[in-house]
């Protein structure tokens, strides 16, 4: 059944891509292997840990659970689209300053879940932060510093910072 290898077109971090891939290839693998965007991590590979979180059409998704074909035409944002070295996004800066990252495997997912949360709720309560990041597991920090980072980011974000917004795909 490998005869069908369609070209799947989508936009990642504002850049258009066309990838030839089996339709069932996971978006996670397309990002990492075909586009070499290795910021998105694989943890559990079954939608439980959130390490592979990316934004798709303005919604947070686990990229390990998205078959490539379902990303056709989508607007995708990965951690590489948030900021860059020397020009960190306020969320990244807050994680850095508050000690929100330790081993780092969960961090890209935490950052994307935070970006999603703050895009729909710029001033979340601690309960809302806990809920927004409930699908992202960290085995190092104990979460306190991560939640502090999100709260700090929310305090630092201003209207001039683009959160990616929502896109119709």
């Amino acid at each position: 059944m490998s005869e069908i290898r369609p070209t799947i077109s989508f936009t990642v971090n504002g850049e258009k891509h066309a990838v030839e891939a089996p339709p069932m290839k996971r978006l996670l693998d397309v990002l990492r292997e075909d586009l070499h965007l290795t910021g998105t991590k694989e943890g559990c590979g079954e939608g439980e840990c959130g390490s592979c979180s990316v934004r798709m059409n303005g919604e947070l998704v686990n990229s390990c659970l998205v078959p490539a074909l379902q990303a056709e035409g989508a607007w995708i944002e990965t951690v590489e689209g948030l900021g860059k070295v020397g020009e960190l996004h306020p969320i990244q800066q807050a994680f850095l300053e508050c000690g929100g990252a330790q081993c780092g495997i969960c961090t890209p997912g935490m950052l994307m879940a935070t970006a999603q949360l703050l895009s729909v709720n710029p001033h979340p309560t601690i309960e809302e932060i806990r809920e927004g990041l409930a699908g992202n597991l960290c085995r190092c920090t104990g979460f306190k510093r991560i939640f502090d980072s999100v709260a700090a980011a929310a305090g630092q974000m201003d209207s001039t910072v683009s959160m990616g917004g929502t896109h119709a795909g």
């Binding site: 059944m1 339709p23 069932m24 996971r26 798709m56 998704v61 390990c64 659970l65 998205v66 379902q70």
Partner: protein, 292 residues
């Protein structure tokens, strides 16, 4: 063993009519996949038996919430994110809106659909208890047309349902006539997010002159599929709510429940906690009645 993308076929016909035509021309050959939160987990683990998948993701014809007269029509492709943020679901079917918030996590809610939740048929399905106590109906569609059946008749056994091989879940219809009822839903799991329920219980009830006029109680993870607890309801219908009747109803529930021991909990725990949840619901019902 990991899933191999080359060994599964996935197509996205692009319209509901084309999907139905495919299901009709090759019945039982194709497995629908919507948000993939169930199928992709099995795929990743290398245990997805289905080799031919047809995508429903992105079909606008299946993704809608509409208030039609005395009920809300919810398209099978509506995500739990849609449900928890839709004002008419919040006001008209608050138990369903609440259940939508405790499904998986935000990332799962963005992708998981109500149709997938029901068609998958897990005994622990999160949206089911609420739909059962609202007397919801499900609408099935095929090239032969549409038909509606009570949701309480949809599940026919463990992971079995009333759909024919060429049928697809089209919509769920939730009646709006429960506004005056006392409503209750609670899930018990290991943690609030990302937990499959150990047990969940929902109820709607209406008292008249101190006696139970209408009552519906439904549970998840108490049997092979989510179901109403008819004998427990019967134990309460027509009588008053007091300490004795609550205790009797709890006894009826524990006799009626058929839970199992599994990785998440034990049968004994499930029955006991379900009885406690029933006690909480009935106590709230009593308190609401006592208020002037």
């Amino acid at each position: 063993m990991r899933g191999n993308a080359e060994s599964h076929k996935l197509i996205a016909p692009g319209s509901l009519a084309e999907v139905l035509e495919l299901l009709s021309s090759e019945p039982a050959e194709w497995t629908p996949i919507a948000g993939g939160t169930e199928i992709m987990v099995a795929y990743a683990a290398g245990r997805l038996c289905e080799k031919k998948l047809v995508s429903l993701w992105g079909l606008d014809e299946l993704r809608f919430v509409e208030t039609l007269g005395d009920s809300i029509a919810i398209g099978a492709g509506t995500t739990f994110r849609d449900l928890r943020t839709h004002a008419s679901v919040e006001s008209g079917a608050p138990l369903l809106a609440k259940a939508a918030t405790w499904i998986g996590s935000i990332a799962n809610q963005s992708r998981a659909t109500i149709g997938g939740n029901l068609a998958n048929g897990s005994p622990a399905a999160d949206s089911s208890p609420a739909l059962l106590v609202y007397d919801a109906e499900v609408e099935l569609i095929s090239v032969r047309g549409k038909r509606r059946i009570p949701y309480c008749e949809f599940h026919t056994g463990y992971k079995r349902n009333a759909m024919a091989a060429d049928e697809l879940l089209y919509a769920v219809h939730v009646p709006l006539r429960f506004a005056a009822h006392k409503q209750y839903v609670r899930k018990v799991g290991t943690r609030r997010a990302m937990a499959i329920s150990k047990v969940a219980l929902a109820g709607t009830a209406l008292l008249k002159e101190g006696e139970v006029n209408e009552i519906r109680i439904a549970a998840a993870s108490l049997a092979a599929f989510p179901a109403r607890l008819y004998k427990t309801e019967a134990a309460l219908r027509g009588g008053p709510i007091d300490r004795d009747t609550i205790r009797e109803a709890q006894g009826a529930l524990m006799a009626e429940a058929k839970p199992i021991d599994d990785i998440r909990s034990t049968a004994a725990y499930r029955s006991r906690v379900a009885a406690n949840l029933l006690g909480e619901f009935l106590t709230e019902l009593l308190a609401a009645e006592a208020r002037p």
